[in-house]
Amino acid sequence: MSEMKFDLIVVGGGPGGYVAAIRASQLGLRTALVEKAQLGGVCLNWGCIPTKALLRSADVLRLIGSAGSFGIEVGPARPDLKAIVKRSRDVAAQLHRGVSGLMKKHRVQVFNGHARLDGPQRLKVSGEQGELSLNAPHIILATGARARVLPGMEPDGKHFWSYRQALVPDSVPKRLVIIGGGAIGIEFASFYHALGAQVSVVEMAERILPVEDHEVSAHVAQALVRDGIRLYTGCALQGSKVEQGAVQLRLEGNSNETLQADVVLVAAGIVGNVEELGLEGTGVKVQHTHVLVDEFCRTGEPGVYAIGDLAGAPWLAHKASHEAVICVEKIAGQNPHPLAPRSVPACTYSHPQVASVGYTEAQARSAGKTLKVGKFPFAANGKAIAMGATEGFVKVVFDADSGELLGAHMVGEEVTEMIQGYTIARGLETTEAELIESILPHPTMSEAMHEAVLAAYERALHC
């Protein structure tokens, strides 16, 4: 068995792992990356990107459906599920190849196989080509997470799906019940509803998108219900059985109905991939399937680090990538700043879209802050009216004492592309004064972002 030496080894090739490898290489470290499945990880192959491709098809379908309101006459549009799924897979494949290219460009040596810690500074990799031993003083674990499996609802590709099966359906289920009203559940609800499924969402919390601002949750819930999606919030799952080709789901809580489903999609959280990593007997501590780390992603074992989903919430690709950079820069002796959790934006690509950063109004209030809150509806924005995109609003939360932008919350068309403005503002620590002085282009939907800030200080111009 040969042993190869590196300065740094990354385990896992997702948006945490491959970014860590690139940054390490940029900083002159001899870097290796071990991936047991596909470079790009869940994000690129089975998550963020392929779902966006599917949702784009749903958008196009929806737009064609409303063509008449724009003065365009078209015949009835018919989705071709096979072609929609193929496009989604092609997009993922293209990006997968892109990551492989990036690894070559940055001279990161990629090993295919499963890695586990094998004593200090050592990894054992077992793959198709047999076993080999890799050695490095710094090992970053970025093995990500997977969907939580509910007992009795193990994904079988037939009646029970995880996001994996939901991304490559053979047909659109007639009755789809989604367990979990978080970002993943609501995105799939939007997609399958657009394709004609009768969609129901079951959420234990009292509202869908429970981590978002109350007003955002309420607005999205209203929009989904208006479109014909059924929401069962405040409901626990009492039991399920398959009878005559359909799943019976008994609910308990706000509703005690029994739901009938052809397919149940379980989107009820994720668990960290902590198994088979050789963590036993090391200083690495695991809690609730996640590895405990400090602000620079260091575990309890010297020289072993964990980033991304493996290291806990929020389970977002951009959080993983950011931690990757922090972790590697710290290893390289630079002086990075710890991740600021309240500056990590979150996006849900449902219809309507949701984007947010920082404190919700309720969080800010319970933190004891005095607030200035401003809200501006897209219905009062010229561009939104012209685009036929008046759904939603922009809401901002300021600290009344310091003028700090505590949080921003948006619902509406392409708000996921706009939240970055507030993210940068938060990052630069601008106060309301700089935002008020900023000039936003007219006519754009982003003007609503300016107006919301003005509204917080009782000087909105168009509302």
């Binding site: 300065d7 260091r298 290893i331 620590e429 004064a433």
Partner: protein, 404 residues
Amino acid sequence: MAKLLHMPEVSANATHAAIQNWTLKEGDTISAGDCIAEIETEKALVELAAEEDAVLGKILVEPGREVEVGAPIGVLFARGETDVDIAALLAKAGALAAANEPVVDDAPVLQPRAEVAPAIDVHSGRIFASPLARRLAAAKGLDLASLKGSGPNGRIVKRDVEAVAVAAAVAAPTSVSTVDFDEIPHSSMRKTIARRLVESKATVPHFYLDVECRMEPLLALREQVNRTAARKISINDFIVKAAAVALQQVPAMNVTWTETALRRYHQADVCVAVSTESGLITPVVRNADSKALSQISAQVAELAGRARDGRLRPEEYQGGSFTISNLGMFGVEQFSAIINPPHAAILAVGATQQKPVVENGELKVGAVLRCTLSVDHRAVDGALAAQWLAVFKGLMENPLGMLI
């Protein structure tokens, strides 16, 4: 190899110093021992001599600007050297300064700690701080210049202000609630004023001369002038003009004291003390003797306005040999002022008052202005100061003399 030229500690315990002037210009060849620049502290003027042969590659600090001792003031190139990355050189200097901080790390570190640049740009004096940090610091009464920035390139951010505020709160005594006063932390301007005035009163031997000027002719002339003038001329404008003309007529008075030499000025640059919210500042009216009253009036008004906005450039309040401080508008009859270093004298001006005067043995009512001259005895002796004051009084009492 290019090297940074640093501000030397020209006098013991001096924390800051200013280049008085660069004797060479960028691109000039230097031989060891050549004087590169003259450095002025409040106590001394010192020649900065080259330690080795070099070329003055780049001047980083313009004359007159005070910088911290040890701050880079220029870049010396080796002879024949071109294409020097000055930014890299400065960044490296920043890294060396930061390297003294302790590094606490468990895992082995592969490279030296990255540079942390200072939050204050040594060239412009600009403090890099986020808007939120500025506002929080202002609310907490913290001086940004006293904070260390931990953001990108040493930018002061919220956490830096909060860290200091928390430390201050911990350090504060717990019984303050019973104390009946507010503590207003010193601004850097306040600190500078305090330091300079203590230094002046403690190290400059002051003596004082008092004089009364009869103001009837000047008041009459002023009324005549103002009847047609677009801009009203104030009594203070006349005083600035009279002081400047007197400085030209008694050039031995137009001096400042330095450790090595008495510096005698060729032009009469008169500073006018302006009170602002944050403190006292003395914008300078250059060549005031040869300026028309209307010009002086306009310039003083303009400088004072910008002084109150805190928008004076250093060259607008540095230099000169003489200060005028006028409290007449508050009804003060007479006071004596502390010399504004490095000036050799300051004239304290009171209010014009109706007073009994004896004229040709008769008691009459006269308009009288009392002025008190504070003089640096190291630079000017009593008789000389008295001679200057007599000329000044003469100009004030026969104001046409200063207009001709």
